[in-house]
């Protein structure tokens, strides 16, 4: 547990440092309602205000004491990290996450409108070859399905109160949220397993090859369809998704999610806060990246969706998109 905790802490630290560098260090901001924050309880303060008792100081230092209560963390007087977590979650995570989820589809829409989908240039050969095995298909769609469910329910938990409450009202939203939360909690571990299966299933073909470098150098031409770089089974874009999305973000989101889902291993509230922050940031990035993947797998590239749907691709498609792989397959045949 401690290794994971350390890892999560490191992750949070990285996130925090990123925030700080872009100007999100916590600053004193005058409260919105015009009350002076310096003396919020001025009339009640009395003469001794401002003189802190030793116990108060000890409490603020995060000290724990002994107690007869057996609830977790019961010995902690007061935790300040909760406030940091709140500021982070309600602030940047929600705000930028929200924009991210709006901007990403908008960008893709714009991209689609400007450049259109990647087309297969030659006429279809009519002969199909198997690109994905049955097993690969099952694994992919398990992951994909649970991903979508988790993304939607997760979005409800994070943004629902801003978006849905004003629309469907408080009580109805509670229904939505409770069902969403339970689905999220139940599907979550399933997704983690699917991600693991994905990794095992697809890792071999996603190992980096020399050709990937070339693809990378011509990325601007490739995505706009101006140039074609041959690749093996997966091109660098797909590999980026595999490594950066499925593997890295998948691991982050699954691990942090499991920490949150099974609070039965003596996790403290601090661990939960960190896990929650990491989970939120990771999931939002994952969703954004996932949108990209979905775009490429559906609208973005002709024939791609069919490939994963049926497992078969037209030879022409294979030749144009993954020439080297096509060669390999041909040799094998």
């Amino acid at each position: 547990m401690s290794m994971l905790q350390n890892f999560l802490r490191l992750m949070l630290a990285v996130c925090m440092m990123t925030m700080v560098t872009v100007g999100y260090a916590e600053e004193a901001v005058p409260p919105a309602d015009g009350m002076s924050s310096a003396t919020p309880f001025a009339q009640e303060e009395g003469r001794t205000a401002g003189v802190k008792s030793d116990t108060q100081r000890q409490a603020e230092s995060g000290a724990a004491g002994v107690t007869q209560s057996r609830i977790r963390d019961a010995g902690v007087f007061q935790q300040t990290q909760g406030h940091d977590w709140r500021v982070l979650r309600n602030g940047p995570v929600t705000f930028y996450g929200g924009w991210l989820l709006m901007v990403t589809p908008a960008l893709m829409l714009a991209f689609y409108l400007i450049f259109g989908p990647l087309k297969v240039h030659s006429a279809p050969a009519g002969r199909e070859i198997r690109r994905f095995s049955r097993k690969e298909q099952v694994v992919h769609w398990s992951a994909a399905g649970s991903f979508v469910i988790l993304a939607l329910t997760g979005i409800i938990i994070l943004f629902g109160k801003h978006v849905l409450i004003p629309v469907i009202g408080h009580d109805a939203f509670s229904w939505v949220a409770i069902i969403g939360k339970n689905i999220h909690n139940i599907v979550g571990p399933f997704f983690a397993v699917a991600v693991l299966a994905m990794f095992i299933t697809f890792v071999r073909d996603n190992l980096f090859k020399a050709i990937d470098l070339q693809w990378l150098l011509n990325v601007h031409l490739v995505v706009t369809g101006k140039k074609h770089v041959p690749s093996y089974k997966y091109n660098i874009g797909e590999k980026a998704w595999f490594w950066g999305g499925v593997s890295f973000l998948g691991l982050i989101v699954s691990a942090s999610g499991l920490v949150l889902d099974f609070p039965t291993f003596e996790q403290t509230r601090q661990t939960m806060q960190i896990a929650n922050t990491v989970h939120g940031i990771g999931a939002l990035l994952f969703i954004a990246a996932g949108l990209g993947h979905i775009y490429m797998g559906t609208l973005g590239a002709e024939g791609a969706f069919k490939a994963m749907k049926t497992g078969m691709v037209d030879e022409t498609w294979a030749k144009e998109h993954h020439e080297l792989w096509y060669e390999e397959m041909k040799d094998k045949a």
Binding site: E26, E27, V29, P31, M35, S37, F41, E44, G46, G50, V51, K52, S53, D54, T55, Q56, Q58, A59, E60, A63, G65, V66, T67, Q68, S69, R70, I71, R72, D73, A74, G75, V76, F77, Q78, Q79, T80, H83, W85, R86, V87, R89, N90, G91, F95, G160, K161, I165, H170, D171, F173, S174, A177, I178, K181, P263, T264, R269, M272, Q273, N276
Partner: protein, 213 residues
């Protein structure tokens, strides 16, 4: 309007746990849920001090801010309450709370005699100190009692934990009134403020913790 707060005078608290028991008694709080608890620091050494901790009904309540379903509300008297019908049991309030006030049922029917260590497993409805002010159900109704416990404030009474405190260390009531009582004691003693948790609970104006951008 009144502003209800708690003061725990550490010079007087003797860790007798009367507040804990009074709360259990008044609200029939089951085994494993501790709406209030007493913490002792420097146990067994000079400088040992005890504090009774529960929901402080913060001015800028973090639990309210992070609740995904807005089940919290605040009465005009500053009491932070929540609607158990709306609560989804996500546990976020407990991450945010400085005082570890939100409680969750541990598991299916934690029996008396079993130790309670999980702060939420089943993640049923959150439960916390209501300042003896019940919930949104009709004041003093059976439904309110079943979900939240008694509504003493609506009876013109104050939280039982404070009213039954063995040494009157725990004070509850309108802030200026209890501050005056506390001030009088300090005057008698001739030394420092022994209030606890106030900066954290009441030091921020409402919304101060909101987005800072």
């Amino acid at each position: 309007m009144a502003r209800m707060k708690f003061i725990c005078d550490v010079e007087r608290c003797i860790e007798c746990n009367a507040c804990v028991t009074a709360c259990k008694n008044e609200h029939e709080v089951p085994w494993g849920i501790n709406r209030r608890r007493v913490i002792t620091v420097n146990d067994g050494q000079m400088g040992e001090k005890s504090v009774s901790v529960a929901c402080m009904h913060c001015t800028d309540a973090p639990c309210m801010a992070v609740c995904p379903v807005n089940c919290f509300y605040k009465t005009e008297d500053g009491v932070v309450l929540h609607d158990k019908d709306i609560c989804i049991g996500c546990g976020y309030c407990s991450y945010a709370c400085p005082f570890d006030a939100p409680q969750f049922p541990n598991s299916a029917g934690k029996a008396p005699g079993e130790s309670a260590t999980d702060f939420f497993v089943a993640r049923g409805k959150m439960d916390k100190c209501t300042y003896c002010a019940g919930g949104p159900e009709e004041n003093g109704s059976e439904a309110e009692f079943e979900k939240y416990g008694r509504n003493r404030l609506a009876e013109g009474k104050l939280p039982l934990c404070a009213e039954m405190c063995s040494t009157k260390a725990l004070l509850a009531g309108d802030a200026p009134v209890i501050v005056a009582i506390h001030e009088h004691r300090i005057e008698q003693r001739g030394y420092g403020d022994t209030r606890w948790g106030w900066d954290m609970a009441y030091g921020r104006a409402e919304n101060e913790g909101a987005d800072k951008t």
